[in-house]
Symmetry: D2
Subunit: 337 residues, 4 copies
């Protein structure tokens, strides 16, 4: 159950409501949706005197909820959320975020940025901190990589999306990035979710390879309930028995999540397929299903990439992909940003 | 390794080649692609004297193969296969096969057929023999249901797709149906695959909920190698840990299978999602990914259907779905049949 | 809901009860547990006048049930079932069923039978009809193989377990075998389940690689409800993302199924691990968990087996395995048969 | 490829070898196994002049490796590792680590500790920092909980195992705990793995619910290669389609991991089954399979536990479990610590 206070309700009224609810034996969790305070309740909610509460000062309405997540839910906020990144509104037109898996050096990232810009991408992606299964694999250029990404932004005007892997690095990555990416392996790294939740930067939250949709939305809820409303979801494939593709893209998650949550939803066709030749067809499918954007690995020289080359496409292939996706977007009443 | 004999090669030449290969310690399996005999080899193929064989009378060419399936493979036949069902060529324009999960009675199936016809469907589906997890669930009307389906075809002109569940029923079902469907649970019922392989009817082969793509194509190979070239594949979702949807539609399988096989490929958005509200978005995605058609559960009164009502749409919703998919099909250079 | 009639109730009383229940709008399904008729009900059972029914002539008791399966359930029959195979009672002492994956020839199967007998096995397994993923793989010796198995039984006294793959072959296989095996791929081949359900032979029903426990018990219910009470379950691993082993043995299914069902439960450590070196440790675990027996691939010359050699052990290894399992069985209060 | 230097080799010799290998274009990673330096190589290792290297000063031997992990591998260290925790050697006798899911208060943890001690457990487990899927669930008592655990150790003499969830908390948790637990959700939280790798405390590393065995061992390798050799593995079930149990315990992983790695290996029957009534049978199976210990949720009043009560057993049930496992351990030649 959620109590929604009126926009601009006085803090004394909010405090009164919270205190009274707690005196009823309920656990009350305070968060904000713009100017409105939201009070999430758990405990013996069946016994809550809804009619009485609705008459308390400052209360707008009392919402029952059947879902474990609240701030992420369409029950609380039926209208779609748009997350601003510079002058782009993620959730309105379809965005294409493209770039290399890893930042390998200054020249490579500048060439990649130039290539994806010319191909029509909306933002630049690239990893400076790389989560690698093996400790012996290339772990990324760290701050040096962030600097190159920032330089690429200067040159192209593309906003930068890059991963942050530990709470202690949130301030550093925030100095350079426009969007903080939480990778699939960290989807239940709750300390990290809280850390980006205390930031004001938009967060791109990938689904874990083992996350159910509910778990994923609860991970989003960690960020939202810490105070950061700017969450962008990204489906990237789940782990199944099938080995033809690297993961299994859960395309049905696109409309399923849009029924459950107001947050914008992207699709990553690169990690989900793991195979260059499948990326374009899967991108078309994602746009047709209603995705708000794509996150694509694109490298100036995929065959010599330090990581994930087999799933990266060239800038020329990206331009073709965007052209095909533009036609599909228009067929479903959307534009490419 | 496959030896492809020239079209119309004399049977004596074919017999000679088979006998000589067997004398080399190889296992030779004979099948036909139209007028051309194909001799599939297994065993110590590395030692095969390719240059010598190519000079034997009637041999057209010797094909190496890395894939366990042969007749289903693009290695053997790079051009796309079209399967004729009446005057429809499955594999050319995008087909929409729609109808109720179960044939429940004469009136229901005639109304359903009329509804899907008016909505723009290309063929009618409906189950007379129903594979049900529980022995206590409705098992279908059997031959009575087949008769109603045939009557619906008379009235609407729509070809009929219906499931066959055991080898002994292949002749009976063939008397009424235009396409024999093999359900997901029977994808490795090898006796049944052989039985429909000896038929001349087109076969719609669903992917098993636990089938890898390779296993599925090998199941197709059972049908093809028994002599029936008219195989239509249908992705219908695989079983994973996710429970929001009934199964997880493997959308990447559409382009992945098209790289591996020349057979037409449909998608079933009803069983894969299990949820009416997701069917249209997933159908659009399938068409955008390049699927050759859709298999959709449509019932005149879904909420009172005897099975699968929660995933069935109404004829009015089907008409809307087809309209949306037509726009997507055109965006990717296809038409709806 | 199940109505249990008194042992030996007159058929007129049974018919009366069935007819009255149907007149109440319920679906009534008749089956037998020894001399007692069981009437399974589906439909609007909440409205059933239980108190009234309990007074009808011949009714012993009315059982509510929350489970989709009935005859397989401990709700109906709390005591453990023992299935007789010759003078062995499966479900009492721990049985070891061992032998080659495929019957490859007379000599091989006689040597295998002699080897497993000397090693201490309780029964002989071996495939004459082989379900193979590829149509080009060795498909078994069919009736010739059955004859060799019968000859091996003559020589060793070991009862024979072998697979039947299609309804039409149930009579043939029954002529030679003591136990009819239903393989994992046929767990939802409902026509085959019904066919062995109409037989009187004991049936060894493997779990499908994607079967939930409930689906598996419902497959057992198909056999039981067709009239054959002699069902032995066999867990053989499920399909997961892990590739170190061929399948993932669901060891928790042993106690979980024993809570739900009274049927005896074996474990197949060979198919679940797919790796010879793991078979003994997993066999010990199965016995410790409470399994009623083991189904093990054992070949006189595993490295030259025509199928599954990498997971087959030698008779000498089997003797060692049985010795280790005997110690574990005794530790949990059981004996090896 | 790994270069093993002689125990006590001079650091100048180690530096020389590393520098020379890097000059050959290889990536050389230095770590230690007791007094012996190990130099892991990646890159073009096929071209490495093995014979020459073996003559360099201080080199003991050059080991080829086919596995991605090295320090965790039996290729490098065939003898089993024992990890000391106080006077217990994990990897020698079978250990039983038991206690509540969460530390809920001083009284609860002291009662739990007393109960598990009397039941025969070897160590105490309990969560002060709790990774919870929902931000609204009880998150643990944090440092207050650690203090109660330390007090319980004072009273019972049992070593304490507790989870650490973020790098910044490693020093704090190390002040109170004897073993640092890394939970399933953090198995690829590489910053956290590195942080505990720089600690000297033994680490209990749970398998992720979607970790392959290789990925899990590579996570162990992160800890080992950071300098901490005291890693204890714990299988806790993987995520599959089956819903009867909370997870699917991969019992075959016990012998499979023991073939691949020298690290001790525990099993958690509580999280894997999620069901109290299955815990004892699965514990017996784990010991029979060769596990080095058990990690069990035990609560003085499971039905009123704040988390995971449905899978917790009572101290009396634990005593019975340990008795049963003792008999199984003896049957396989082990003792309970």
């Amino acid at each position: 159950m959620i109590i929604r206070m009126r926009a601009g309700a006085e803090s004394g009224d909010v405090d009164f409501v919270v205190a009274r609810l707690r005196s009823l034996g309920l656990s009350a969790h305070l968060s904000f949706d713009g100017d409105s305070a939201l009070i999430g309740l758990s405990g013996p909610v069946d016994a809550v005197p809804v009619g009485v509460i609705q008459r308390w000062r400052g209360v707008e309405r009392v919402l029952p909820t059947n879902r474990a997540y609240r701030l992420a839910s369409t029950e609380l906020r039926p209208e779609r959320t748009e997350v601003r990144v510079g002058d782009v509104a993620v959730g309105r037109d379809v965005v294409v975020i493209a770039g290399p898996c890893s930042v390998e050096g200054r020249d490579q990232v500048l060439r990649a940025a130039d290539g994806v810009k010319k191909a029509g991408a909306t933002m630049l992606r690239g990893g400076a901190f790389k989560p690698r299964t093996s400790p012996y694999s290339f772990q990324g250029l760290a701050e040096e990589g962030l600097k190159y990404l920032a330089e690429a932004r200067e040159e192209t005007g593309l906003a930068v999306v890059t991963e942050v892997m530990a709470p202690e690095f949130v301030p550093l990555v925030s100095d350079y990035a426009d969007v903080l990416q939480i990778g699939a392996r960290n989807v239940q790294n709750f300390a990290l979710l809280a850390a980006v939740g205390h930031s004001e930067k938009p967060v791109l939250l990938k689904r874990g390879m083992m996350s159910t949709i509910e778990e994923w939305l609860l991970s989003a809820e960690y960020i939202l309930s810490a105070g950061n409303p700017n969450v962008i979801l990204c489906e990237r494939g789940i782990r199944t028995f099938e080995t033809t593709t690297r993961n299994t893209l859960d395309i049905s998650a696109v409309p399923a999540v849009q029924e459950l949550s107001h947050l914008p939803m992207l699709v990553d066709p690169s990690h989900s397929t793991g195979k260059r030749s499948l990326v374009t067809a899967v991108s078309r499918a994602a746009v047709a299903a209603g995705a708000d954007g794509l996150l694509i690995e694109c490298h100036p020289d995929p065959d010599n990439a330090q990581s994930d080359g087999y799933q990266s496409i060239t800038p020329a292939q990206l331009a073709d992909l965007i052209g095909q996706c533009r036609a599909v977007a228009e067929a479903v009443g959307r534009n490419i940003a």
